[in-house]
């Protein structure tokens, strides 16, 4: 992916750019709002990371300006303010996701992948498929290798989210946000339990597992281990 990072904290930016590079992404970095806006307007990026507080133009204004000039590159807004409202404000300005600092690099990368994927138009597909696992979103039917799998409504949504982000790492926080609409981190392993239930339904009776645990990050639904 081509990623634009607009971040004025040079240490944090260097760390982020290195991390993203090592994951095979091409990264441009801008250290202030004006440069960032200029780069975003004149290049095509798959996704961008925008710090909220920036010299020159602040992060929210950059996103707003880009949206006004119909640049719809997905934007993840980073902020040192972690309050509920700040999140709402960030999304209202045209941001696509919001992550409070300090963040885990794994969390950030997982979210960037998800954002880039979302920007592609295959969204509306009613049929989702990962390996021999198939989902019909209209009939709300899931089969694996032709066998019907009965899922609870929440399990269905969980699987749907994982299938849409097949091949990507999905963190617990992302699942909690997108499947349950809860924006906090529970102290107990509530999400893991739901994953393990889902796993028992889609993987247990099959030789080849699809739902993988990514240590230290989250989960990944993938045909290839």
């Amino acid at each position: 992916m081509r990623i634009l990072v607009i971040e004025d904290d040079l240490d944090a930016a260097a760390f982020l750019v290195k991390g993203l590079n090592e994951s095979g992404h091409i990264v441009d970095h801008a250290a202030d709002g004006h440069d960032g806006l200029h780069l975003a307007e004149n290049n095509r990026y798959d996704v961008m990371v925008v710090d909220r507080m920036l010299p020159g133009i602040d992060g929210l204004s950059i996103v707003r300006k880009l949206r006004d000039s119909e640049v719809d590159t997905p934007a993840l807004i980073l902020s040192a303010l972690g309050e509920v409202d700040d999140r709402v404000e960030g999304l209202a300005a045209g941001g696509d996701d919001y992550l409070p600092k300090p963040y885990a690099l794994a969390e950030l990368m997982a979210r960037l992948e998800a954002l880039a994927r979302r920007a592609r138009p295959e969204q509306a597909a009613t049929q989702l498929q990962v390996g021999d696992l198939q989902m019909d979103r209209l009939k709300r039917k899931v089969t694996r290798a032709g066998q019907d799998i009965l899922l609870q409504p929440r399990e269905f949504r969980l699987l749907e989210y994982l299938m849409r982000h097949a091949g990507q790492v999905v963190t617990r926080t992302m699942l909690l946000e997108n499947v349950w609409d809860f924006h906090f981190d529970p102290q107990t392993n509530v999400v893991d339990v739901h994953i393990s239930r889902l796993r028992s339904k889609i993987d247990k009776e099959f030789a080849h597992p699809l739902l993988h645990t990514v240590r230290g990050s989250g989960y990944r639904l993938d045909e290839h281990g």
Binding site: G82, E83, V84, D85, V88, A92, P100, P102, A104, R154, W180, D181, F182, H183, F184, D185, P186, Q187, T188, N189, V190, V193, H194, S196, R197, R215, G216
Partner: protein, 469 residues
């Protein structure tokens, strides 16, 4: 004194005094002027009347009668109030105290005013030489001329007397107005000084100081009362902030230290890559815990400061609790804990959904942590007849001893029994902060055995900003 002159109260009273004095002076001036002109008119009327009487006499008793009367009157009127003169056609004086008719009196039926020395031959500079005499000169048939005069000294005296009274009155009014203004200014200044002194002490760090309140219950007291409430709040917030800082310093030092020594010890021993990786993952987990603690502390502090934010909405508490129940039921089942939920439908709450969700989730986390294997967790939501929305979480774990129930709501308080379980000791503090922000009550009770937590949202939730988000 110069400070007094600069007070608003004094300046205002001064302005009022000036305006009031001006009006009073104008009124008194008018009274004075009309009195004086009335007196003048009266003198003229008396002269006219006297002249008319003498003319009547002249007509009925001819010249001798008039002469006799004038001479009699001049003699009788020794006090000199009235003077009478009569001259013949060739200006020879026929009657009167003078030897000859004053040369400059020609006109007829005219009023004029003279000084005594202009009419009579008196010693210059002698007493009464400048006494004013008002005269009426009348032309009589046959070339005779008659003068009737009257002293205006009495009127003069009355005039100057009135003037004195008016001047004294105006001076009095201005004086009292100034005095009143000064008193008022001084009173206001005194009270503001008291407030100033108190404010100064507060600025210098004595946060327990309050503004003085008198028993008058006036606008100053109302203001002072308001400010005192504000100071109370500030003091409370500062004390709270200080506590947070103390707790942060105290409780974060331990995990930070642990993290540090973990890394230090790792460096001392030669290890292979896998071992390093393991230590680093542990270190990251430690850091994550620290971040979580920081975040929790921050949001508690913000909520306790009651920084009112947007984000309050009307949301379905029933749906929220159903979702939470569903989320936690699986985890409970996994631990062989029976999870029962009894959630009434169609209950709405006005508040910050995310925070309420966080609070309930903390309670459920706790229940999950402390309920024994094969234990029970009960999660319920109901609306009472009085409209209050009540959420309860009960477990049959070890519970909390009655004497500790207040204490566990404080930050970082972890009971001995909880030392072995994971957690930062902020869960219940956060619940308390959320309930506080929503004006809800948080009650911990014994569940015989276990802990029973009740959160009661009163019906009349303050409807603050409702954002469309």
């Amino acid at each position: 004194m110069p400070r007094l002159l600069r007070t608003t109260a004094f300046r205002l009273s001064l302005l009022y005094a000036a305006v009031f004095s001006l009006i009073a002076s104008a009124a008194l001036g008018f009274v004075f002027w009309s009195t004086i002109s009335h007196i003048d008119e009266q003198i003229d009327a008396r002269l006219r009347l006297e002249t008319d009487v003498l003319m009547q006499l002249f007509r009925s008793r001819e010249l001798p009668g008039l002469l006799e009367t004038i001479q009699t009157r001049n003699r009788a009127d020794n006090a000199g109030t009235f003077v009478y003169l009569l001259s013949g056609p060739d200006r020879d004086l026929l009657a009167g105290p003078l030897t000859s008719w004053p040369t400059d009196l020609d006109a007829s039926r005219t009023y004029a005013t003279f000084t005594r020395e202009q009419l009579f031959e008196v010693q210059p500079r002698s007493k009464g030489h400048d006494e004013l005499i008002r005269v009426l000169v009348t032309q009589l048939p046959g070339g005779y001329r008659m003068l009737v005069g009257h002293s205006v000294e009495d009127a003069k005296r009355l005039q100057s007397h009135t003037l004195t009274i008016v001047a004294v009155a105006i001076a009095g009014i201005v004086g009292f107005a100034l005095l009143g203004g000064a008193l008022m200014g001084w009173d206001v200044l005194r009270r503001i000084d008291a407030v100033n002194r108190a404010a100064g002490e507060i600025v210098h760090g004595d946060l327990t100081r309050r503004l003085p309140i008198s028993r008058r219950n006036d606008e100053f007291d109302a203001l002072a009362l308001r400010l005192n409430i504000m100071l109370e709040r500030i003091e409370k917030l500062l004390v709270g902030m200080r506590q947070v800082t103390d707790h942060v310093a105290h409780d974060l030092r331990k995990p930070l230290n642990r993290l540090r020594s973990r890394l230090e010890v790792t460096l001392l021993e030669a290890r292979n890559e896998d071992e390093y990786r393991e230590v680093m993952e542990d270190a990251i987990a430690d850091a994550d815990d620290l971040i979580g603690t920081f975040n929790a502390l921050l949001s508690i502090a913000q909520m306790e400061a009651d920084v009112d934010r947007d984000g309050r909405t009307q949301f379905s508490a029933s749906a929220l609790c159903e979702d939470l129940a569903e989320l936690y039921a699986a985890a409970a089942e996994d631990k062989h804990i029976t999870f029962r939920s009894d959630i009434q439908s169609a209950i709405t709450l006005n508040g910050v959904r995310g925070l309420v969700a966080q609070a309930f989730s903390n309670l459920l986390d706790n229940a999950l942590k402390y309920a024994p294997t094969d234990g029970t967790i009960e999660f319920a939501l109901r609306q009472d007849n009085d409209g209050a929305v009540v959420a309860t979480v009960a477990d049959n774990g070890p519970g909390i001893a009655a004497e500790d129930r207040e204490r566990v709501l404080e930050r970082f308080v972890r009971l001995e029994a909880a030392r072995s379980t994971p957690g930062n000791g902020l869960g219940l503090s956060l619940v308390k902060a959320v309930t506080g922000l929503h004006g809800a009550q948080l009650v911990l009770r014994d569940n015989h055995p276990g802990l029973y937590v009740e959160v009661r949202f009163p019906n009349n939730l303050p409807r603050l900003t409702v954002s469309p988000a």
